[in-house]
């Protein structure tokens, strides 16, 4: 591993602009790390070596002409649920094995326009259904901090690609915690933007009213840089409003004195790992010491979030996966894996005659109450801080035969998807050798505030400078 593998987007850009190294050299450092580590970690389904080399050469040409683009020459991995023109896109499922999209997702097009080098497509729970990465039809991804343990899911390969230094940044999707949870399990920064902030066009749909399109980076500043490229209205996705896109890096260093932070009592539950709790409370102390006003708040409907989520989400899943007929593209429906079938069945049931009102309609009403909880809270506080996961990563296989216990691992993350709020998952140190993370949740379209709060904490602690291979 060369020193190139430690770089943030910002540092890599500086090196490229100063000609300390070329985009091809930078790419090769990451390709070599993939070569060394991927057979053990299974983070990539496809490595786009030749395409990436072409893109890196092109980046070097633009650099030599004095051009500057926000991600010029930066090796980025894509969750294999983002459509990539001419490159296999599987969604982690055998149903799409061999599928070569004839178009790019909007985010992929924007990353390419920004000069990014697409290094590969990362492993995931099939169709993004899972919290551990174990539901992938291409085998589980391993946690680089301890390969007997899960890295969190569903964006497991993307989180691991950044954590294990096989990419500088990676894209993910977060429908119920699929970015924030693996970020917290791998010592990376994960952003779930506000619903609609980033276009869903060309990303294989899981649950359309919940899917949020975000990314993994080493630190908060990179997360802001990345969102500058991906955020904004897209005529091809009707749920992306024309809300202004600020320069998200502008307010990173702003003084946080006087910012009101709410601590929801429902997120510090009895069953939680006491060491994780202690870790998060320590992080909250930082804000208190730096002049933030810490207030205990209540989000009273929290205990109903998982039940609401496991009605709305499978209902939308069953509808979205109905399109896979094996006729126009993809393979036959018999190639669906176990978890996808379970969710299709659950969703089909709650939408079926006689059960629709009792389940689906009821869930949409409780969704309104969950949103009200947050609206009330944001009258009193500017942001909310909570743990991402009640536990440390679990052993591969531990929850495999108990879908309900797997579903409950998302207990602290699903609500932000139900309500559409943005959440930033930030490393807060280590417990028993495993990374831990907190999430900062803010009002709709207030990502800037999350970056500000996250950056100030990170500057003091710099957990992101630790990696699984340090000596």
């Amino acid at each position: 591993m060369t020193s190139h593998n430690n770089l943030t987007i910002k540092k890599a850009r500086e090196g490229l602009l100063k000609k300390d190294f070329s985009a091809v050299e930078l790419l090769n450092a990451y390709l070599e790390q993939i070569e060394r580590k991927n057979s053990e970690l299974n983070a990539f389904i496809t490595v786009c070596k030749s395409e990436a080399l072409e893109q890196a050469k092109h980046a070097d040409k633009l650099l030599s002409e004095g051009q500057d683009l926000p991600l010029l020459g930066i090796p980025i991995a894509l969750k294999d649920i983002y459509s990539t023109k001419g490159i296999q896109t599987t969604a982690g499922s055998n149903v799409l094995k061999g599928y070569i999209p004839p178009f790019d997702a909007t985010v992929v097009a924007r990353l390419k326009e920004a000069g990014a080098v697409i290094i590969g497509k990362t492993n995931l729970d099939a169709w993004a259904h899972g919290s551990s990465g174990e539901n992938s039809d291409f085998g589980p991804t391993k946690n680089p901090w301890n390969t007997d343990f899960v890295p969190g899911g569903s964006s497991s390969g993307s989180a691991v690609s950044v954590s294990a230094q096989m990419a500088i940044a990676a894209t993910g999707t977060d429908t119920g915690g699929s970015i924030r949870l693996p970020a917290s399990f791998t010592n990376t920064v994960g952003l779930k933007p506000t619903y609609g902030r980033v276009s869903r066009y060309g990303i294989v749909a899981m649950a359309s009213s919940l899917d949020s399109i975000g990314h993994f980076t080493k630190n908060v500043e990179d997360s802001a840089l990345f969102l500058n490229v991906t955020a904004g209205n897209d005529p091809l996705d009707g749920t992306t409003p024309t809300v202004e896109v600020p320069d998200y890096t502008k307010k990173l260093d702003k003084d946080i004195k006087g910012i009101r932070i709410g601590i929801p009592k429902e997120y510090f539950i009895a069953g939680m790992d006491p060491k994780v709790r202690e870790n998060i409370e320590k992080a909250i102390k930082f804000y208190e010491e730096n002049g933030c006003k810490i207030e205990q708040i209540s989000l009273p409907h929290t205990e109903y979030a998982i039940a609401t989520y496991y009605i709305i989400q499978p209902a939308e899943v069953s509808s979205n996966l109905a399109r896979y007929d094996g006729i126009r593209y993809g393979n036959k429906r018999k190639t669906f894996g176990e978890e996808a079938k379970r969710r299709i069945m659950l969703g089909t049931f709650t939408l079926s005659v006689g059960y629709y009102d009792a389940y689906y309609k009821k869930a949409l009403k409780v969704r309104t109450l969950l949103i009200k909880d947050f609206e009330e809270a944001f009258k009193k506080v500017d942001a909310i801080i909570a743990p991402v996961s009640p536990t440390l990563p679990w052993k591969i296989g531990e929850k495999a035969n108990d879908p309900l216990s797997m579903y409950l691992s998302d207990v602290f993350t699903v609500t932000a998807n139900i309500t559409g709020h943005p959440g930033l998952s930030i490393p807060t140190g280590f417990v028993d050798g495993f990374p831990v993370g907190m999430q900062i949740i803010g009002p709709h379209f207030k990502e800037e505030l999350l970056f500000n709060l996250g950056h100030r904490y990170e500057q003091e602690h710099k957990w992101f400078e630790r990696n699984p291979y340090e000596t």
Partner: protein
């Protein structure tokens, strides 16, 4: 609650093995009994929410723009004939 797994599988166009039917019967009823806790929530006069950022009636101009070529659209199909998707007969028994 017991779920009629065979009926649901038929609605969802899924083919299940005997073992799968038994397994899903058990797992779905355990998930549904957890979900049933929602029945305790008072939702009288509470409206439903399906869109969280308040957008309504998003339309686009009635203008054409380039789309996939016929070749591109067919490029991933294993069943094509004369530039068209080939599907099973619907109104007859022909394969």
């Amino acid at each position: 609650m017991k779920v009629d797994v065979l009926h649901i599988a038929k609605l969802a166009n899924l083919t299940l093995s005997k073992e799968e039917i038994a397994k899903y019967e058990e797992q779905l009823s355990s998930i549904l009994s957890y979900i049933d806790k929602l029945q305790k929530v008072d939702t009288k006069n509470v409206p439903e929410t399906s869109q969280v950022t308040g957008l309504e009636n998003v339309t686009s101009d009635d203008q054409t723009f380039p789309s996939l070529s016929q070749d591109d659209a067919l490029s991933n199909s294993q069943n094509k004939h004369n530039g068209l998707f080939k599907v099973k007969g619907i109104l007859n028994d022909q394969p």
